[in-house]
Symmetry: C2
Subunit: 475 residues, 2 copies
């Protein structure tokens, strides 16, 4: 009689979603296991035919700044496989069973399979928000109306704008961008650069995550750059060509009709959590998973990236911050923790940056921390001001203007937030403010600290320090 022990199964980590968060997790798990001398299997399931692409780069692809879709891919499936990930492409996870520890998935080409997991990482990302008016009765997007989220969208947009440049659709020359956030402004830039007569419709302001005195500055430059920015306006109706099903115009809530050939949906995203919800995982009021500081959402289950809510470090509450930089950091933390690590994601500040460049106009926009309204709602005794300065000494040709808004708490003098709107080389200064917020330092610290000065790079009182000094004096 044989008494052989059955061979011990290797530990199996399943990752759902092979973009930034998922693949950071997969690779970190493999690296950590390797350095611990352990053998593990990492299986990643991806429903599209793309891995690890830069969604943030899509507007620059559409504008023609970036030459090919391939350039937006940080790593091809082959490269991921070469490092040991069992990457299964074009398969859609359909069910997670937390009791049997299995994930069911369907091949997009047909056929279903199951995979066992010891550890599971959810990196399912987010869906672009699609308004009702953009969808036909048949559940399809209206012709010419499209979001900007993944590489398939990118290919669609490239096709649209290139067709036009080849003159095949010579009538396609007007674009409406719906949404005035980062993607809206970046896509407006792209459409203008492609020669489209472009309207930007936004329900509040252009860059409404800035205070209104700062977002107005952005709005002005975007208009100067050739975009017809229409604020405080939603889409009330859409007119569709009954013959080819293509959009003909949008009607705004202001009653105005905007004839157009294409419509960019830049309305943001919502966390993609259907799988987890069906498996019984809790989600937050903003629709995302609610990971603890180790990015764990259940025993042996982690989540990372756009499918998660994240902790705002200042307000100590969950918020949405769907950005690649967080996805990468969180994915890495999941990777460590699936193989026994205890790494923590320390939360976000709401730092963000973008620019709009068109027709001699160059505006850079950045923010970190709380806006004045957020700060007041969080119970702070808010003091703020806007200061105008320059990115270089007044006598240097590269000097560009920079408007800095600074927000602090009068009681503790703690810095709460900074917003920047300025010319070339202005916005990356936001990182200095972010570091000050990270260290929970005061507006006096920011005013006093030893920042770099030389004529091509700054004024002798660095622009954001000038703002801090003035606010410090006023408080």
């Amino acid at each position: 009689m044989s008494t052989a022990v059955p061979p011990k199964q290797r530990e199996q980590i399943v990752v759902i979603g092979a973009d930034a968060a998922g693949m950071s997790a997969a690779h970190q798990a493999l690296r950590s296991a390797k350095s611990a001398g352990r053998d593990i299997d990492v299986i990643a399931l991806e429903k599209t035919s793309d891995t690890s692409y830069s969604a943030c780069g899509i507007p620059y692809l559409v504008s023609g700044t970036v030459g090919t879709t391939d350039e937006l891919s940080a790593r091809t499936p082959e490269k991921h496989r070469a490092t040991g990930v069992d990457l299964r492409m074009n398969v859609t996870a359909t069910k997670i069973d937390l009791n049997t520890r299995t994930v069911a998935y369907a091949h997009n080409a047909g056929g279903e399979e199951f995979v066992r997991f010891d550890k599971l990482v959810l990196a399912t990302g987010a869906h672009p928000i699609i308004p009702e008016w953009a969808v036909t009765d048949g559940g399809e997007l209206v012709g010419g109306v499209h979001p900007v989220k993944d590489l398939d969208h990118a290919r669609h947009w490239l096709d649209l704008v290139s067709r036009r440049s080849r003159g095949e659709l010579a009538v396609r020359r007007r674009a409406v961008v719906v949404g005035g956030g980062y993607i809206g402004v970046e896509m407006a830039e792209a459409m203008v650069q492609r020669g489209f007569s472009t309207t930007l419709l936004t329900r509040s302001a252009v860059m409404s995550n800035l205070d209104s005195d700062m977002s107005e500055r952005v709005c002005e430059t975007v208009r100067a750059g050739g975009v017809d920015a229409v604020t405080n306006t939603t889409v009330a109706d859409i007119d569709i060509d009954s013959v080819d099903g293509h959009v003909r115009s949008l009607t705004g809530s202001n009653g105005q009709v905007y004839p157009t050939d294409v419509v960019v949906l830049g309305l943001g995203v919502r966390p993609s959590t259907e799988l987890g919800v069906a498996a019984g995982l809790p989600i937050g009021e903003r629709g995302g998973y609610l990971p603890n500081e180790r990015q764990e959402v259940a025993e042996g289950v982690w989540a990372a990236g756009d499918c998660c809510e994240v902790i705002d470090r200042i307000r100590r509450k969950y918020v949405l911050a769907p950005l690649g930089t967080h996805a990468n950091k969180q994915g890495r933390i999941c990777g460590y923790n699936t193989v026994g690590g205890s790494h923590e994601f320390p939360g976000v500040l709401g730092t963000a940056i973008t620019r709009f460049v068109s027709a001699g106009t160059h505006v850079e926009v950045a923010r970190t921390g709380l806006g004045t309204r957020e700060a007041a709602e969080a119970g702070y005794d808010v003091e703020s001001l806007v200061t105008l300065g320059g990115t270089a000494s007044g006598y240097m040709p590269e000097r560009s203007p920079i408007a800095t808004k600074i927000i602090a708490d009068r009681r503790t003098r703690r810095l709460l937030g900074v917003q920047i709107v300025g010319g070339a080389q202005s916005a990356k200064r936001i990182d200095t403010a972010a570091a000050v917020l990270w260290g929970e330092m005061s507006v006096d610290d920011l005013a006093a600290m030893d920042l770099s000065y030389a004529p091509p790079f700054a004024t002798v009182w660095e622009a954001i320090q000038l703002a801090a000094r003035r606010l410090s004096d006023r408080m």
Copy 2:
């Protein structure tokens, strides 16, 4: 018999030196007095005919980037007077008497005067270091040899380079810059841009305040930009034309002869403290006044700017850091404190930045905190690495390379220093590191913090965070 009380004398503040530190003090004193409802007199003594000029801008004036000397003046004497400063130009303070509370000063045109002070601010700046070989037996500078410190030097250099461009001195076409620090590199750029065949002689490295693995990167680009950079070489001898007294060549300690038409002295500065020393004020081993945290050097006497030593925040010891940005901050603190304030200067980190642009070459250089040698000497258990990254996403045309050196303490994981050498838009990132140092945060904090990301501005792991993450992993 009259019993009239003599009219009470208004409080009198005397400031010696009317550049950044002195005039910041003068104006802040007036503002503070005004807001306290007090009347004071502020008298400023200036030995030159210039006030509040940007010494840092001189290389850009010499290069032709800045059009006129006037552009380097932040405020004219008239503007200072308009705000209430009793500004006395072209007078040299000759003696301070701390017992009688008087300053003696001589009009440069002849004649001596005394002025009483209740409070005194020393803002006498620094002298350029002039080596013995550069001085004739008569005590004059050798013809064609000149430092780069004040606007008179600037005028001299402008005259020299413009004369050449007008063809009046067609043989003047070679320059030797002695000194490889900030001013040396900036003047080498200026001379190359003016068409001079330029040699840079430095006793150690080009930018020796960087670690050698970083300064070598600078040296390479400076050479690629057309400067013959000669390292580890001092000046052994000078050959002077016996007819016109003009320099003909320098001989290096390497035995090499460098024929030249002009010599730029970029050897740094030493604090100008003769007046205070004669009055009995103590100075430090680096030759500067030793102010306390309120910038006070004796009862009722303050000092600010390049004439002072400053506290290094990390090592808690006096160092020299002759920079306009400190002079402005310290001057302002003196101004507050002369009228009863108790403001403190919190010390420096050694943050500095520059660039070298020539012939298609663009290198930016920055540092903050301690170098590896300084950190080791201060007793830290030093860990460091250099990481290569980019200033923008790989697919963006504006991406330039960035080498980041990061230095931390293995025991506490505290960040100790960061050095950057890179292309356009790389160096100002140093401010983020400076903020981390200011808050005494760790290398893990820097790796984890929420810094801004968008394709034109950064990689998804921001360059300095990538360095921090790698060092964090290694420690």
